[in-house]
Each structure stands twice: as C-alpha cells, then as structure tokens.
C-alpha cells in the first residue's frame, strides 16, 4: 500500500466516520440524560431522508428549504416520540424503556413500509456536491469536504450548547442527579425534549448527507447506520459527545482500512467493527472518553 493509496483511504474513511459520528452524538446525548438507549434513533435518519426526498420530488421545494424542513420535522418527531413513548414509562425499570425504543423503531420502519412501499427511491443530489478535488494522486470528492465541514460545525455548536448555555448546564446536571435538579426548579421535561430535538436534528442532518452519498432511500436504510452509530457511541464512551464523534471516526476508518488492506476480509467488515467494540469494552468498560467507574 503506497502513500497516496493510504491517503485516499483516509479520505473515504473520514467521510464514513463523520456520518457515523453525527448519528452517534444523538445516541450519546439521550443516553447521557436519560440512561436510555434510543434504538429508534437510526430510523430518524430514514424519516429525514424521506421528508427531504418528498420535499424536492413531490413539492418541488428548493433543496435548502426541503433540507431545513426535514431537519425541523425530524427534530419535532424526536420530541413527539419522547412524549408519546418514553415519558409515560419514565418511572418504570430501564429495560421497559429499552424494549419500547425497539418497538418505536419497528413502528417507524413499518409505517414507512406500508405507506411508501419497500422499493428504494433515488435521492436527488444538488449539483454543488458532485465532482471531486484532485490533489496529486488523491481525489477528494466535493461531498466529502461538505460532510467533514458540516460535521465539524455541528459538533462544535453542539459542544458549545452543552458546555455554555443554561439548557446545556441543565442537561449535564440532569445526567448527574435528576432528583436534586428537579428540586432546584429545573423543568425536567423541557430539558429532555430539548435533548431529543437536538439529537434528532443531528440524525436528520446525517441522514440527508448519507442519502447524498448513497442515494437509495428505503424504509430499512436506518438500521445498519443506526447500529454502527450505536457501536461508535459505545466505543467513544456513551454519554460523551466528543467521545461519540471520535468513536464514529475510529469505526469509519477501521472499516475502510480493513477492506483496503485485507480485501479477503471485506465480507467481514461488520465483524471487525463489533470485534473492535468488544476489545475496547473489555479493556475500557466505559469507552475511550467515558467517565471512569468508581471502584
């Protein structure tokens, strides 16, 4: 493997990694606040892809309007899912919420299947993302540049919100001790809704970029990315935003490099991802950036 081939793979790996990372942040934030693994998170990617698709193809909206609408509506759906499915069982054991999350995931997939049908639709890609920038022997697709920039911007924004704003402080406080925070007069439900909205909006942004890169929109398109993002979130230390982004990058790069270096193993790409997760969990049970457990 020569130098430029490796650099080329780095570009591909980072692109995939950014997409996993965006999705993983949402997993991580919801887990941080509620200790709930929201398995419906991957399907929000699918929902936003369909909204973006219908906005452009059926309603002939310009793409910025359609994409903004997709992100806003998906964020709203995130809040509705929390209010409808998770809030009523907030006091139940944690396993109930987990099973409910799986149920919500199946519900979203099957509603899409029944109403829209199972045949993949072609996602219309705006012209400005096509083409590639060639540097020496390495070609960097324009879309990869966009994905990288958008991911970095969203990640920075997200970190700023969580670290600096009042609601961000409330989120972090809730994740430490819910009861005390409520005694301080913080509106718990508002903070949780905000967490879901933010996480879902990130998933929606990820979904739209995912579709530009792999333009096949279908009801089950969120399952695999959702699973990978979950692995990424666990890798990085679930509950930590920068950890989730880092986990996504590691996973994306590992997947691409394993195939590029050992093509005979390309069928075992997912196995590698999960093996990586097992190794990290065995050595660092709370993930790379996770908090250390008290002994």
């Amino acid at each position: 493997m020569d130098y430029s081939f490796a650099l080329q793979q780095l570009v591909y790996g980072l692109t995939v990694g950014c997409l996993y990372g965006l999705l993983a942040i949402g997993y991580s934030m919801v887990y941080g606040v509620l200790r709930l693994i929201n398995f419906a998170h991957g399907d929000l990617l699918m929902v936003s892809a369909y909204i973006g698709f219908f906005g452009i193809v059926i309603f002939h909206l310009p793409w910025p309007v359609s994409f903004a609408g997709a992100i806003a509506l998906t964020a709203l759906l995130g809040i509705l899912i929390d209010r409808g499915a998770y809030k009523p069982i907030r006091k139940s054991p944690r396993i109930n919420a987990l099973i409910t999350a799986i149920g919500v995931s199946f519900l979203l997939e099957n509603v899409a299947l029944v109403t829209i049908g199972g045949r993949p639709k072609s996602f219309p890609t705006p012209g400005f993302v096509s083409g590639a920038i060639v540097v020496g022997d390495v070609s960097i697709p324009t879309l990869s540049v966009w994905v990288f920039v958008v991911t970095v911007v969203l990640l920075t924004l997200c970190m700023a919100v969580v670290k600096k704003t009042r609601i961000g402080i409330a989120m972090r406080a809730l994740s430490r001790d819910m009861e005390t925070v409520m005694l301080m007069g913080v509106d718990k439900d508002r903070v949780i809704s905000f967490t879901f909205a933010l996480g879902s909006a990130l998933a929606a942004a990820g979904g739209i970029m995912w579709c530009m890169k792999y333009p096949a929109v279908e009801p089950f398109m969120g399952v695999i990315p959702g699973l990978k993002a979950f692995v990424a979130a666990v890798l990085g230390g679930i509950g930590s935003i920068s950890g989730a982004a880092m986990g996504g990058m590691i996973l994306g790069l590992a997947e691409v490099f394993i195939v590029a270096v050992q093509p005979e193993w390309s069928g075992y790409r997912d196995a590698v991802a999960f093996f990586l997760m097992i190794v990290i969990l065995l050595t660092r049970p709370t993930g790379i950036m996770g908090e250390r457990l008290p002994d």
Binding site: Q9, Y214, A216, V256, S266
Partner: protein, 371 residues
C-alpha cells in the same frame, strides 16, 4: 334491529351463491414484496395477476392466488411458505424469486410434498436432490459460461475483477461459475472483493479494484447495490465496463444509478424484443393496456411460471399436489410467453439466454444465446 337483519340478509345472499359455485383452486405466490429485492416481487406480482386474467380457471374451477411476503429474507421465506401450505391450503407454490430465499423455502415444500415452481431462482442448489422443486429459468453454470464468453469475445477482456455479495447464494454461485469459465477461456481474474447485503459504502473495495486495473468488472449482484457500486466507481474514476447478471434487471438500477449505469451489460431471462409466441403477444398487449409498465424479466418469468402451473393442473386433471408434480415434470415444449419451455427430469428448464445493455436510460436488447 332492522339494520342487523338487513346486514345478515345481505351476507347470506352474498355468501350462498359463492358457496354454491365451484370451490377455487388455491395457488400460492411466495414473493419478496418488501425488503432488499422488493422490486422483483412487485414486478412478479403484476405478472402473475395479468396471467390470471388470461387463464382465470382450471378444471372448471376458478383459480385463487394467495400472496405471502418473504421480506427478501431467508427466515421469513421459510415462514411464509409454511403459512401458504398450512393456513391457505395451497396445492402448488409459485416462488421465490431469488436463489437464497428459494433454497430456504423449498425444504418445507419438499417435506410436505407441495410442488414449488420458481420463476427466476438460478442457483443449481435450488432443485438439486429435490422431487417437488422446479424452475422455468436457466441455471447459473450456464449464465456464468455465457457471461465469460461475452466478456472474452464481445468486450475483448483479458483480465477481470469481481465484486459480489457474500451473503447471497446467487452471487457466490454465479461468481464461482464465471471465474471457472473465464479462466478456462484464457482470461485472468486479478482479484475479488466482497460485501454483505445492506452495505452502502463500497469505496475501499472499489479503490482496490481500481489499483488492479482490470479490463472489466464482473458484478453478479442485485440491482440496488449494482447501481450504488456503479455510481461510486465512476465517481472515483474507475471506468472499466461492468458486466452483471439477471439480478440487476429492475427499473431501480437506472433510477438509482442514472448516468453511472450506462453501458452495463447483463445476462437476462427476457426482453420484450424477443417475444415470438402468440401467448407472448397476447400477454404483452394486455399487460401494456392494464398495467402500463415496462414488461421486464421478472414479470414475464413469473407469468410463465403461472401458465406452466395451470397447464400442469389441467394435464394432471386433479388438484392432488403429487399428480401436479408429475405433470410439471412432464412439461415439454410448452408455449409460454418467453418462448418454449421444457422442464428436464432434474427440475430445471431449458431456456435461451438474453443479453441486455443499459443505453440512454433503457434496457436494450443485444442478442440471444442458447447455452
């Protein structure tokens, strides 16, 4: 109370004449209506329904088609076939369309002695060692041979790289047969890369192929992945011609792939340009009028499977599944819509193979080869 009486009267009046009429013959349609190869299932369902309009009855009894969705999954195929046989009491099953699912479902049909006819499952294992499983299409050793010949003689390729789906029996089988024939014909396989159904990113695999610089890329895979692979390959400047199999013939290939799939050659079951039988002309006319879609391989093959099944029921003179099996295995020179169909004792059909090409956003007929 009067409205209840009214409803009951309506039900009785509706049901009694139906009950007095001949009881329908139930035929099962085991199709992937959702999931990764949903396009095939939906095209096949159109075909079977149009075929039923042409031949709505057998032995003086109407034919009823019971649909069961396999979700394009092996486990769901096995469940769906048992539902058709146990609950819907079908006497014969048409399906499944892809090899892996047909193999998964055929075990149950074989054990319960219900004949099964697959319109398009091409892997040799589908019928191997089975008494009750048939197909109305060619098999993959033949398809691999034709593809290798096409690559060597028509595309003048000396070297090839292969990309295939490791989780599908069809892809693994066809890849092996192509590899054997291409090497025997003097070609060289430079390398092979794989992926798993559901993968969407093929960039590392394709950059590997790019570094091998093959004359052609052989892709014995299904349409969604083929479209995405073509797109990603062209984006990274990998412009070697792509040669595929019958698994890519769905409108989605062109919708998803756009310009990137232009010039893809593939071996297939059927093209409307090859219609020669009276049945074919009749079907084409009716299908164009009623459904109005493009008449593709999966539609035509499924309609033919229906015609072969109805013909077998008529010749058997009974709806006893074992007698239908015997009649199916004696199918000889049956004039279907895709041509003359003969089923050999091993359950496989003798069928000509069509070569198609994507040109200007359409499937264009190139040639017919008798394997």
């Amino acid at each position: 109370m009067t409205w209840i009486v009214g409803i009951i009267a309506a039900i009785i009046m509706g049901v009694v004449p139906a009950a007095m009429a001949e009881e329908p013959i139930n035929i099962g349609a085991l199709l992937p209506m959702t999931g990764s190869v949903a396009a095939f299932g939906q095209m096949a369902w159109d075909g079977i329904n149009t075929a039923r309009k042409i031949e709505p009855e057998a032995l003086g009894r109407p034919i009823d088609i019971k649909l069961s969705d396999t979700k394009s999954e092996k486990v769901d195929s096995a469940n769906a076939v048992s539902r058709l046989i146990e609950k819907e009491k079908v006497v014969v099953v048409i399906g499944e369309l892809i090899s892996g699912n047909t193999i998964a479902a055929s075990d149950y049909a074989e054990r319960t002695k219900i004949p099964m006819v697959s319109p398009t499952a091409t892997n040799p294992l589908v019928t191997q060692g089975k008494q009750f499983v048939f197909r109305v299409c060619f098999i993959d050793p033949e398809q691999g041979r034709v593809a290798a010949k096409l690559a060597l003689d028509e595309l003048h390729a000396k070297t090839a790289a292969i990309i295939y789906d490791i989780s599908q029996d069809y892809c693994v089988g066809l890849k092996t047969f192509f590899q054997r024939e291409f090497t025997q014909g003097g070609g060289k396989i430079l390398g092979e890369v794989m992926y798993k159904m559901g993968d969407r990113d093929f960039t590392p695999q394709l950059s590997r192929i790019k570094s091998l610089k093959p004359d052609i890329i052989y892709a014995p895979i299904y349409y969604t992945e083929c479209a995405l692979i073509a797109k990603q390959a062209r984006e990274m400047g990998l412009n070697a011609p792509i040669l595929a199999g019958d698994g890519v013939q769905a409108p989605e290939l062109i919708q998803l792939g756009g310009k990137a799939v232009e010039g893809i050659y593939f071996t297939a079951h059927f093209h409307t340009d090859t219609i020669s039988t009276p049945m074919g002309k009749k079907f084409f006319e009716l299908f164009t009028k009623e459904v109005g879609k493009e008449l593709d391989s999966y539609t035509a093959q499924s309609a033919d499977a229906y015609f072969v099944v109805v013909d077998a029921i008529k010749r058997a003179g009974s709806t006893d599944p074992v007698k239908i099996r015997d009649a199916l295995s004696a199918t000889k020179d049956f004039e279907g819509l895709t041509g003359k169909i003969t089923i050999k004792p091993d359950g496989n059909a003798i069928k000509p193979m069509v070569v198609n090409k994507v040109k200007d956003g359409k499937f264009v007929y190139v040639t017919t080869i008798m394997p």
